[in-house]
Symmetry: C2
Subunit: 242 residues, 2 copies
Amino acid sequence: MSESLVQRPAPSLLHLDASADANSVSKRLTTVFADSWRNAHGAAGYRHRDLSADPVPLVGPAYVALGTRVERHGVIPASRVAALIEDPAEEREWVLTRSLIAEVLDADVLLLGVPMYNLSVPATLKAWIDRVTFPGMFIDPDTGDHLLRDTRVVVVMARGGGYGPGAPRAGLDFQTPYLRAYFLGLGVAEENLHFVAAELTRAGDIPALAGFQEMAAESLTAAREAVTALAARLAEPSVVTS
Amino acid sequence: MSESLVQRPAPSLLHLDASADANSVSKRLTTVFADSWRNAHGAAGYRHRDLSADPVPLVGPAYVALGTRVERHGVIPASRVAALIEDPAEEREWVLTRSLIAEVLDADVLLLGVPMYNLSVPATLKAWIDRVTFPGMFIDPDTGDHLLRDTRVVVVMARGGGYGPGAPRAGLDFQTPYLRAYFLGLGVAEENLHFVAAELTRAGDIPALAGFQEMAAESLTAAREAVTALAARLAEPSVVTS
């Protein structure tokens, strides 16, 4: 086995924001990452989706019908899905879906800005997840390999309260463990999953959290540093062992 | 303290379905419950929302702005929210929201049909949760009491695979523990929370699950029996201690 260094010409970043907040903390933090990325690589491989301003449509009955039919065949390539479509509603669903899947497969890095809404991810992000997770699309039908194994996933979270390790509400965090389980299930390698959280971001708004404003500021600073460090690390030229 | 038996004249059921599937198992099971309820009580107090056919709009920036402004005042009654509205976009968000909140407050029983989508609840249900959970609306601003303490919540779930206690994928269930934490956080009493799950509902569609079809059929039968028993139990005349 020979080993060579291959520098990819245009690494790509798919940047998704899920917040509906005009003053979103998670969006400010993903912007730090995205700016750093574009400084290093230019804008060519950069793609941004604001899932709140431009929501992914909820899946409908035709999506479920097509997905179920596809699933009966085991794992098939995206190119064979069209042949299984039975009506115009399924065709519309597939057109909406396949381009979102292609975006994910094309990305070297997937960056998600995710506020905590009601202990979990916002409906905007879940709508994207429910659509993009079409049966078998992230598995190589010939080898069974996970196509996203080498994709780096950076999840930048903002939570109004404190949900970090040791916090009294840590057990109520259905955001971090959920997204970890989801992306691992999608085939992303554990070492390629990165989570950053700004905690207590509503300390300035909620009277009961007023005593936590200093802690919130420290958490935000730490999150910004972590995002900056991750951007620098993941912006290094990819090293591919072949 | 005197004790008297009061039979409410028209108990009310709010029935939400979140599935996008035309052959939905969760919808078939909630229909069993709803039919039994209407047999006992008539249709007067029955309200049905299909969150897939008629989705709750995703919350936008004006919802977040209004909610944040309300939250700065601590807990206020719904009647005082209108006075805090600053522009037509916030007015639109509040009009969409207050009627959904009123529906929940009016319900004696809340029935949810919830398929598992990608390990968690569908985006349709999360959109309802994200909108209805407006700051302070389920707390009595005078006493601090939880307004939903006596509301009975019945969650009827369908999962394509096996996620029940003891199943290899039990740790990947972000549906049951999430909804439990959410409704407890909303103030529903633990003893009023009921969960029923039909497992392995996709055993007939997914080749890898073909060996589980008998188990799936048993699970569906058990779920139907559990739903029927719950409907009978919760349809008994309410006993109020005063």
